[in-house]
């Protein structure tokens, strides 16, 4: 049975594991799961996601409380605490361009070793990245990313784990959902198998291991 309680979910979250999270600027990061992880008190997490959220929104909660040892993200501009921790040497940060990062996550989820991109090849410092020539053009080798646990937010799940997202809260979630050894979905609504149209399903349930019902989203503050 994939539908579980928050307590059951937290049994797979341990100190030092790699956690990948869906969401973009806090929107679509699973709030109930993040609050639960915070409350459990795990530390030294290796986080992978689009950004550092805001200090009290999204993944930012965990980062602000010093629970992360490292972070792979495209930017941390919306979370000054993350910047401060990075400057103090308390948080190791690796930046990837946003489009490169999501492709690295997808390639992990798809069982690929990585992708070739030319983004940043002639500008941003390429930090020991290998360069290859393909069809006469140069590309960076960008390695795939996977995680011990992926946490995502969706609108609906059936009990098999098929996921349907809502508007722009889809963002990085379908990619993150594929890249976890264990994938946990927090959803607004859990429906019986057969209640979702096979055409509307974005994440096939085979990628999803656990499902919990959301206690509600917390990212409206940006404009409130």
């Amino acid at each position: 049975m994939k539908v579980v309680t928050l307590e059951q979910v937290l049994e797979v979250i341990h100190d030092g594991i790699t956690v990948m999270y869906g969401g973009f600027g806090g929107v679509g990061s699973p709030p109930t799961l993040i609050a639960g992880i915070l409350q459990k008190g795990v530390k030294d997490l290796h986080l992978i996601g689009n950004d550092a959220g805001f200090p009290t929104i999204g993944i930012g909660k965990l980062i602000s409380q010093g629970r992360a040892k490292s972070l792979i993200a495209s930017h941390i501009g919306s979370n000054p605490v993350a910047g401060k921790l990075m400057t103090e040497g308390k948080l190791e940060v690796e930046f990837s361009p946003q489009g490169t990062l999501v492709e690295r996550i997808r390639s992990g989820g798809m069982g690929l070793g990585g992708i070739l991109v030319d983004i940043g090849i002639d500008s941003i410092i390429t930090n020991n990245k290998d360069i290859v020539t393909v069809n006469g053009k140069q590309f960076l080798i960008e390695p795939a990313l996977t995680a011990d646990v992926s946490i995502v937010y969706a609108k609906k799940a059936d009990t098999y784990g098929n996921l349907v997202y809502d508007k722009s809260a889809r963002n990085t979630n379908p990619l993150v959902a594929m890249a976890g050894k264990v994938t946990i979905a927090e959803v607004e609504e859990i429906v019986a198998v057969g209640k979702l149209d096979p055409e509307e399903i974005i994440t096939p349930g085979v990628f999803v291991n656990m499902i919990i019902k959301s206690q509600g989203v917390d990212w409206k503050w940006v404009w409130e």
């Binding site: 930017h75 999501v102 940043g120 500008s123 990085t172």
Partner: protein, 219 residues
């Protein structure tokens, strides 16, 4: 940007004049967001958001915001007819594939060759490059909207960027409160001067060589 609302709107309005019906356009945060306000309502332009939308529309009225419908800056938006939602890989696939006709963004520095620096101030601000790098490197036309000078009064249009580049040779047009420059194969071309500034103001506040267009306008 520490710029008055009138200047901001004037810059945004000038940028809007670059946009044609049917185009795919990405607007960065800050002044670029205002550009949409200066397009005719009847003009069908597809605004692209990096999180995963093509076809964003105006801000919703107060109370009508949808927590799950935001642009890449996290602001609540609406969508227009013909819009689609997708995941962020497709959003960046559209960018890398060169399908964004115009990207409008801010800058810390622009060089006379069109090099763009807008993401990092070493030792001060290291926020990460986000998606600006893809937009700058791959959009068909890159328009920079910015103050002509920095807070300290230093020119931001310079011979060579001192800050790390977001992307080299990518900027096509610079619009400031003072002037509009096109960046051509041969370097900067001054197209327009914004009243009440005059040519001397532009010369004094630009630390790069530029050619004055034969069709120079004061607007």
């Amino acid at each position: 940007m520490g710029m008055g609302i009138a200047s901001r709107e004037r810059i945004a309005k000038r940028a809007a004049a670059e946009i044609q019906a049917g185009m795919t356009v990405n607007l960065g945060i800050g002044i670029p967001t205002l550009v949409a306000n200066f397009l005719p309502a009847s003009m069908h332009v597809m605004f692209h958001a990096e999180n995963g939308i093509l076809g964003t529309g105006p801000s919703p009225s107060k109370g009508q915001e949808d927590a799950n419908l935001c642009n890449a800056g996290g602001e609540p938006i609406t969508v227009i007819s013909g819009a689609s939602y997708f995941d962020s890989t497709t959003a960046f696939g559209i960018i890398r594939r060169g399908l964004v006709d115009i990207t409008v963004l801010g800058a810390l520095e622009v060089s006379e060759q069109g090099d763009l620096a807008n993401w990092i101030v070493p030792g001060k601000k290291v926020p990460g490059m986000g998606g600006a790098i893809e937009l700058a490197q791959k959009s068909k036309k890159v328009i920079v909207l910015m103050n002509h000078v920095s807070k300290n009064g230093q020119p931001k249009i310079i011979k060579t960027c001192s800050l790390p580049l977001t992307a080299p040779k990518c900027v096509d047009l610079i619009i400031t409160e003072m002037a509009v420059f096109q960046i051509t194969e041969k370097g900067l071309l001054l197209l327009e001067i914004m009243k009440p500034y005059c040519l001397e103001d532009v010369i004094d506040n630009t630390a790069a060589n530029f050619v004055i267009s034969k069709k120079l306008k004061t607007i």
